[in-house]
């Protein structure tokens, strides 16, 4: 049993080009040695033990591996970890805590936006990015923004409701300008 991450550390073969990179993951700078072919999703899951990011189709279709890269949604199966050097990555672990959920997480809880939960981290991060850009999205805006994330359980209806719930909560939480 080995992963690509384990293979390159601590003693990579002489022909393995290892690079040292520093990535800000959920606000914390992490410095790691990676082989260039290591995918970001594998660094997150196996290297940094952040298993909230899921690896689904592995072909950039399903969006389960979505993280925020400098604030923009990114399919982490389709970027090499080495490319993230000097950048900020946010995973679902960075969204909130068990006692302090992010409004998007609360929305998924309140509106039953998940069943098996496999797509959920990617769905929530893509939703968070949408709401930061568009605090008052229509149902169509939400379906459009989440069209790169596949869910095989919910039929999407409750996911859309969850995001609408979160949008309203976040608008109400905003201090009103006088």
């Amino acid at each position: 049993m080995s992963s690509l991450y384990d293979e390159v550390a601590p003693n990579p073969g002489a022909d393995t080009p290892v690079r040292r990179v520093t990535i800000e993951v959920n606000g914390e700078k992490r410095t790691v040695d990676v082989e260039p072919r290591l995918l970001l999703v594998h660094l997150l899951r196996q290297g940094l033990a952040l298993t909230g990011t899921h690896s689904g189709c592995d072909t950039s279709n399903c969006g389960a591996c979505t993280v925020l890269f400098d604030g923009s949604p990114l399919k982490s199966c389709t970027m090499f970890a080495v490319q993230a050097d000097g950048h900020k990555v946010e995973t679902v672990e960075g969204m909130g805590t068990a006692s302090g959920l992010h409004p998007v997480q609360e929305g998924f809880k309140e509106e039953h936006g998940l069943q098996c939960g496999f797509c959920t981290p990617g769905m929530m991060l893509a939703s968070k990015a949408l709401l930061e850009r568009n605090p008052d999205p229509t149902e169509d805006d939400i379906r459009w923004a989440l069209s790169g994330n596949l869910c095989r359980c919910t039929g999407y209806q409750n996911i859309v409701k969850s995001v609408l719930w979160a949008a309203e909560k976040m608008r109400n939480d905003q201090p009103q300008e006088a």
Binding site: D15, P17, S60, P73, M79, N149
Partner: protein, 291 residues
């Protein structure tokens, strides 16, 4: 899935990148958005010995319009940059229509316009729009720059005209000679799928008369189909239903679709005719409203 081992370089200047490509002797590839290249290397359809990541080279993410109306799109402009532009719909309606149909919203945050042209996928959206607009691509190698007409740049499926030591640095869209009109319609089975058939139309209108007419098709041939000659039957004419039908028939005849899991050859040709008719009819209606 992970690709075979490769060396990785992330140069800070274009000259460094070109020197690395040159030294690579054909075994090095440019990594821009990576949204096509990374899946290709993961599936081991491609196995370059070196990837040269150009994302750290400053000054390649511009989208500018020259005083004469020439649009220039740098190598690191993402699909999303075109989708979010608030001015593109007025100046380049064909590009604006395609921008939100490329892949899916997450891929669009990363994938690049120029990279997509280089990928030369017969089902690629941007290649079709660029051929319809008479676009060119600026490439730079050790001996300097040259410009290649998009029609000569896409030489076959997934094959472009770049020499091994050249980088595509900019897409150039010439100014419209008249009022720019056009659109891009794509039939896809689901978001993120490749085109079953798609049609790019770009017209330069002089009043109600068609000045220049451009058209290209994706998904209906072994490479992007250049239908500029076919749609040129419209030049000097107005968009009457008869003229529209003649143009749609001519464009549909230029398609070379194959029967596959996305549909039969006849079906795809029918879609092409329907889309050309729909785009031209919409333009005719908007011209009538404007008059």
């Amino acid at each position: 899935m992970y690709p075979p081992k490769f060396a990785y370089e992330a140069p800070k200047t274009l000259n460094e990148a070109i020197a690395l490509l040159d030294a690579g002797g054909g075994e090095a590839k440019i990594l821009a958005g990576g949204q096509s290249l990374i899946p290709m290397v993961k599936l081991r359809f491609a196995s370059p010995e070196m990837l040269i990541d150009i994302n750290n080279i400053p000054g390649l993410d511009y989208m500018t319009i020259d005083p004469d109306g020439t649009l220039r799109i740098g190598a690191l402009v993402r699909h999303e940059d075109l989708e979010r532009s608030t001015t593109l719909a007025a100046t380049h309606p064909t590009l604006a229509a395609a921008a939100s149909l490329v892949a899916d919203p997450i891929i669009r945050t990363r994938g690049t316009f120029v990279g997509s042209l280089c990928h030369a996928d017969p089902q690629g959206d941007w290649s079709a729009t660029m051929i319809a607009l008479g676009g060119r691509i600026v490439v730079q190698g050790p001996k300097g720059k040259r410009e290649i007409d998009l029609r000569n740049f896409v030489v076959g499926p997934f094959t472009n005209a770049l020499a091994y030591n050249e980088i595509a640095i900019e897409a150039v869209i010439p100014p419209a000679k008249g009022t720019p009109r056009g659109s891009y319609l794509k039939l896809e089975r689901r978001v993120g799928d490749f085109a079953t058939a798609s049609v790019a139309v770009a017209l330069d209108m002089n009043g109600a008369t068609v000045g220049r007419a451009g058209c290209a098709l994706a998904g209906v041939g072994g490479r992007t189909i250049d239908a500029n000659d076919a749609i040129s039957v419209l030049v000097g004419k107005t968009l009457t239903p008869e003229n529209i039908e003649a143009a749609a028939d001519a464009v549909a005849a230029a398609a070379d679709p194959r029967t596959d899991h996305r549909g039969s050859s006849d079906y795809k040709r029918h879609i092409v005719k329907t889309f050309v008719t729909r785009i031209l009819t919409n333009i005719a209606h908007s011209e009538q409203k404007a008059a």
